[in-house]
Subunit: 347 residues, 2 copies
């Protein structure tokens, strides 16, 4: 019927981004209403009066979450937030989600209700409707697939590709916390597995554990940027780590960048725990991922306006492509950045 | 943090439709643009000039497909078709899809390309764009999650709930074939497992095997109905079996129905194989599922027009709710219908 391919290229060599780049080359665009296909936080569809944004995320038990320490309500909440975050990353407003879940019989109705309660709480906070989906049985783990739909005015959309030379690089909130939260949860899980009589000790870790289990999509900053009439020249959300996201923006914009280690926003608890656990907090910020903050660039002329918004840090600037991507460390030394973010297919 | 529930209701008691009914009661609608949430083939969003349709299906290895006999290109093709079928079932036109896949490292790039080739072929045939998605690793089986987006003129939409008393019940194509195809594939797989030296014998089963492996979404009938100015009063696609779909239409419309066994469109090959395998072909049509034909109702006044469209069978009529749902068998005897369609959660 269909021909068989003789070559074999391992997915583990290619990685997720390599696979996406490859798929992009074989997937055509047919409808005039398709403005942007694969390659940004969302697909963009022309609806005449506005652009519609569509994004989809698949969360798999054992890959993206561990139910031994993940409350189902938090999981539902997070699974919605990661999608809303992609809509915000296009400078848009989320409106609807559809939810597909694959569940095994070991779950009770009450467990599924908890999962949906978390999803609905996330929807309520962001004024989004859960409008449909699919429920099916799974022979393996829990699978959650969410597609979010949103909209953005045509002259307000922010792609990854719009960063210009000398633009300022900004990031909301703080970085590395979700990664440290994951380290704490894994440490306590291991202690519990070794000796079930020892209760988990999460004291002094509230902030980072919440960053991991219950991230917030940063819609308030989209509103704040709009209020100050700042139009980001490019934007992406921080799901795989700052370094990986900087590579996406610089590659799509054909630019380089310099970021400054002493400008990276790192919470005190993140830094303290990193010290205790012998982890470099800068590495946690650069490569940890799952912070769901917004990384964006603005024109230098917007610098005075951006200072008016709390919790946005200016961490560096965009350069010509030839300059490459580099971190200036606290001693002023320049180190090339590596995109060593999380890549499920390479694990 | 969040309260724990003490009760435990088993999902296997509730089944998929019970779970969906329950979820519907706890999920609010917030945005004015959300016209229809859970409970039809698609969610319906008001885009001023038209209604937007959104549907999502999750296909799980071991539940929905068996890779031991499922070529990946066919699987990609089918996974798109089942979603397009839901858009057509609202009398709409599909336009875009987003695709989430969970894959294990045992797949090569070439295998994933075959999967996408099938998806892209389905997209090409229906003039649909694959605009984005998510790729991630899976520790268990292959997971395919597709969300399709389409549109329909506001005065043309067909819900499940619009069937009126005395409306005629129509179905496109023929029924039960996909189920017989599955029986053939399972039989040959068993023979192969028992003795790997015996080659599979699929002679005389081309049609039913293709019905199972490579179903076609029935967009041509949406165009034909439009050309004849027939507006279906209700519509659904046949994914879980005719009986189950009749229950959905009758429940949503608060009506009953009578269908006639001798009017059910059953292909010769389906009937022959059913005879050989000791399966009642009427049961295959009523409960088999996966035919992806369109089941719809029309006003009696459209009877002369519907006769002009080939491959549409009028199989019965809608009654008052009190009359219930029944099949009139070939001897004129009336048997109440049972919604014994496929339900993954009850398996």
């Amino acid at each position: 019927m269909f021909e068989n391919k003789m070559n074999r290229t391992e997915l583990s060599e290619l990685g997720e981004f390599g696979l996406i780049r490859h798929l992009k080359t074989i997937i055509p665009v047919r409808n005039a209403s398709t403005v942007k296909g694969i390659g940004d936080d969302c697909a963009v569809i022309d609806r005449e009066s506005h652009f519609e944004l569509v994004t989809c995320d698949l969360l798999m038990e054992g890959v993206h979450f561990d139910l031994s320490y993940y409350p189902l309500k938090h999981l539902g909440y997070k699974s919605v937030m990661v999608n809303l975050s992609d809509i915000y990353a296009m400078n848009g407003t989320p409106q609807q989600i559809v939810v597909g879940i694959g569940i095994s019989n070991r779950f009770s109705l009450e467990a599924i209700e908890e999962l949906y309660e978390g999803m609905l709480l996330a929807c309520e906070r962001h004024q989004v409707d859960l409008v449909g989906g699919d429920t099916t049985s799974s022979h393996s783990g829990l699978v959650i697939s969410i597609t979010a739909i949103g909209s953005v005015a045509k002259d307000q959309i922010a792609y990854r590709s719009g960063a210009g030379e000398n633009d300022l690089i900004c990031v909301t909130g703080d970085l590395g916390g979700a990664y440290m939260g994951l380290q704490v949860l894994n440490r306590e899980k291991q202690i519990f597995l070794d000796n079930p009589n020892i209760q988990p000790d999460l004291s002094g870790t509230d902030y980072v554990v919440e960053r991991q289990l219950k991230p917030e999509a940063r819609g308030e900053f989209i509103a704040a940027l709009k209020a100050e009439s700042i139009h980001p020249t490019s934007m992406i959300d921080v799901s795989d780590g700052l370094a990986s996201e900087l590579f996406h923006i610089c590659t799509a914009s054909n630019k380089g960048c310099r970021i400054y280690e002493d400008k990276l926003p790192i919470d005190f608890e993140t830094a303290t725990l990193a010290g205790e656990m012998n982890i470099n907090p800068t590495i946690a910020a650069l490569s940890g991922g799952e912070d769901y903050e917004l990384l964006f660039t603005i024109k230098q002329s917007d610098f005075n306006k951006i200072k008016l918004i709390k919790q946005i840090a200016v961490i560096g600037h965009i350069t010509a492509s030839e300059a490459g991507l580099a971190l200036i460390d606290k001693s002023g030394h320049e180190t090339p950045l590596k995109a060593q973010g999380w890549d499920g297919l390479k694990q």
